[in-house]
Amino acid sequence: MANVSWLTVERARRVVPGLLGLFWFLVLLVAR
């Protein structure tokens, strides 16, 4: 089984702002 110790709930919570940004960046790539 792959070692996924770097993927924690804590870290997932922290990267929410960046993920939000990436999501809306993708929306703006297609929306017009």
């Binding site: 870290r11 922290r14 960046g18 939000l20 940004g21 990436l22 017009r32």
Partner: protein
Amino acid sequence: MNPSYSHVADHLSDLASFGARAPVIGILAIATFGVADAVAARVVISASRTAAVALILAGVAGLVIAAARIHCSEGAAGCPRSVVDDSTWTDVLHGQAVVVNALAFFVAMMACAAGRVGAGRAAWWRPTVVVLAVLGLGFLSQAIGEGAVGAWQRGWLLTNSVLLLLVTARTPAGTQEGRG
């Protein structure tokens, strides 16, 4: 919705403008970047207070950008710029908030690179943050001129998002608000 809108040539702000069809998408997109900056401030505050303050400023400016919508009376596509006589106070405020957002975000990233965010981590981290921040600011400065403003602005948003991911993921565990 805005059939002739160009992702390359037209500004992002045009999608959120008075005159655009379904402006809520553009408004939400811009506002979300402001909210993301403010949320990121909460993550990095214990590692760099300067970065957190700058991110809050960037976040507030982002919300102002979303709220102070520009005017595109003939629709989002090909919305003209620099027509001073047609500018309202919201157009002017919008432009000023873009500058504040960009500079505050840049300062925040420099503070992250210089501070304890990412401390003890891989050697590539600090130079990557600095290079991406400079690249992002370069993209946005290109968007001030004529040409592929939409493409430059999207490049700026992409670097913003990646930087937020980098600085929040690399904040040392245990240094966040509410943890010692």
